[in-house]
C-alpha cells in the first residue's frame, strides 16, 4: 500500500496523477493536506509514554496515521517554501513522529532514530517554478536529514516547471510502477 499526502494549495498534483495511478494495481490512499484539519504537535510526549504510539490530538491525523502504518511507501508532495516544505505538510511531518520508535540507535557512528513501520520508503516531491539553486539544495538536504534520522530509504524529487503529465509519469515510474 502507498500513502500520498499532497499540499495542493499551489498546485494540482492530485488531479494530475488521477489517470496515472490507475495504471498500477497497488492500493493507493491519497490525502489533500490543505483540506485537512491537522493541529501542530504540542510536544506533550504522550506518544512516547502514557499513550505509546498514539497521538492524543483528535483531528484528521487520526485518519492519516492508520494508513501510514500500513504503507510500504509514503509520498509527501509539497510546494517548496523558503527551502523547506509548506506548513500544511510540516504539520503532518511533525505529527508522524508519534509512530516513530522512541529508542536510539547508532548508524555510521552517530545517534539516529527509527520508524516503527518496517521497511518504509519515504519520498518527497518539492514543487516550485523558478527555483533557485540554493533553495533546491536546501530542500534536498532536509530530505536527506529526514531519511537519515528515521533510518529509512527514500528520495527527493524536484519539479521546477509547471506540473504536467510527463513530469508526473517520470516520478511515478520511479516510485510506484516498480
Amino acid at each position: 500500500m502507498i500513502t500520498i499526502i499532497s499540499d495542493d494549495s499551489k498546485n494540482n498534483f492530485m488531479d494530475t496523477i488521477k489517470e496515472s495511478i490507475k495504471k498500477t494495481t497497488k492500493k493507493i490512499v491519497v490525502f489533500k493536506a490543505n483540506d485537512l484539519n491537522v493541529e501542530p504537535c504540542l510536544a506533550c510526549a504522550s506518544c512516547g509514554g502514557k499513550t505509546y504510539g498514539r497521538c492524543i490530538l483528535e483531528d484528521d491525523m487520526q485518519k492519516i496515521l492508520p494508513q501510514i502504518v500500513r504503507s510500504e511507501k509514503m509520498i509527501l508532495v509539497s510546494p517548496i517554501v523558503y527551502g523547506g516544505v509548506s506548513f500544511h505538510i510540516k504539520k503532518i511531518m511533525d505529527r508522524i513522529s508519534s509512530v516513530g520508535d522512541p529508542r536510539y540507535y547508532m548508524k555510521n557512528g552517530e545517534l539516529v532514530k527509527k520508524m516503527r513501520i518496517p521497511d518504509l520508503k519515504y519520498y518527497m516531491v518539492g514543487i516550485k517554478e523558478n527555483l533557485t539553486f540554493e533553495e533546491e539544495l536546501l530542500f534536498i538536504k532536509l530530505h536527506e536529514e529526514n531519511i537519515n534520522i528515521m533510518s529509512v530509504d527514500g528520495k527527493a524529487f524536484i519539479v521546477e516547471k509547471k506540473l504536467d503529465n510527463s513530469i508526473i509519469e517520470e516520478i511515478l515510474k520511479e516510485i510506484i510502477y516498480d
Binding site: A43, G49, K50, L65, G83, K91, S97, L138, I149
Partner: protein, 217 residues
C-alpha cells in the same frame, strides 16, 4: 533589563523548555522582551510587536530536522501579508541530537525567509544536545565549557547588532567517539524504555494504529 528594540520570540509549544531558557539568558545579558508564538488563534499581536522591534530573535526546538510547523505557518501564511522594515533577524534552533547538521536546516530556512520578506538575516546559533537540558541553565549542558562562552559571544553579536558567524556554533559541536555514542544510545534507550514500562508499555508493542483500524473492520 528592558530593551524595547529587541524582541525575543519563543516558537516552542513548551514555555519552560530549552528554547525559552536560551531567550532568558539573552534577556539577562542584553535585555529584550520575551513573547511566545501561540499554538492557536490570531498572529496579530505578534506581528505588531515584530513591526515595532529593531532586532528579532527566533528561538525554537528541532522537529524533524527543522523548526516546528507552527512557525512555518506563521512565516508562510501570515508574515508576507504585512510590511516590515529590514528588521534584523537572528535564529536559534536546539534539539536533542548532539550534531549541527541535524538541526541546521532551521537557520537556512529563516535566512531564505528573511530574503523574501524584508528582514535582514544576521545569522544564528545551533545548539545540539539541547533537549536533555529540558530548560535547565546552559551551564548544565554536557559540553558547557565550550557551549557557554560561544553562546555568550553569539549574544554579544545580537547586542551589537552585527552578523553572528556560523563558526560560533560549529565550534560548540563536540566530536563524540563511536564508543561513547554507543553507550549514549544504550543509556538514552534505557531511559525511554523505563518511561514506557511506567505506563505498562513495551517498545515492541503492536503499533496502536494497526490495532484500531482492524477492530473497526
Amino acid at each position: 533589563m528592558t530593551n524595547e528594540n529587541i524582541l525575543l520570540v519563543c516558537v516552542s509549544p513548551r514555555r519552560k523548555g530549552t528554547s525559552a531558557m536560551l531567550l532568558e539568558r539573552i534577556k539577562n545579558f542584553i535585555g529584550g522582551e520575551i513573547v511566545f508564538l501561540n499554538q492557536k488563534g490570531s498572529f496579530e499581536e505578534l506581528i505588531k510587536k515584530m513591526q515595532m522591534a529593531k532586532i528579532i530573535v527566533i528561538s525554537g526546538p528541532t522537529y524533524i530536522n527543522s523548526y516546528p510547523a507552527r512557525l512555518f505557518e506563521f512565516l508562510e501564511k501570515e508574515v508576507p501579508n504585512h510590511k516590515f522594515s529590514n528588521q534584523k533577524l537572528y535564529g536559534i534552533i536546539n534539539g536533542g541530537m548532539p550534531y549541527v547538521h541535524t538541526h541546521e536546516h532551521g537557520l537556512f530556512y529563516l535566512k531564505l525567509f528573511a530574503k523574501e520578506n524584508s528582514f535582514s538575516w544576521m545569522g544564528g546559533f545551533v545548539l545540539g544536545g539541547g533537549a536533555i537540558l529540558d530548560g535547565q541553565p546552559l551551564e548544565k549542558h554536557l559540553n558547557h565549557r565550550k557551549v557557554v562562552p560561544l553562546f555568550d559571544q553569539f549574544i554579544s553579536c545580537i547586542g551589537k547588532g552585527v552578523f553572528a558567524p556560523k563558526e560560533l556554533y560549529e565550534k560548540a559541536e563536540v566530536a563524540i567517539p563511536k564508543c561513547i555514542t554507543y553507550v549514549l544510545s544504550k543509556a538514552l534507550t534505557s531511559k525511554v524504555v523505563k518511561n514506557l514500562k511506567k505506563y505498562d508499555h513495551n517498545p515492541s508493542d503492536l503499533i496502536y494504529y494497526l490495532k484500531e483500524l482492524d477492530s473497526k473492520n
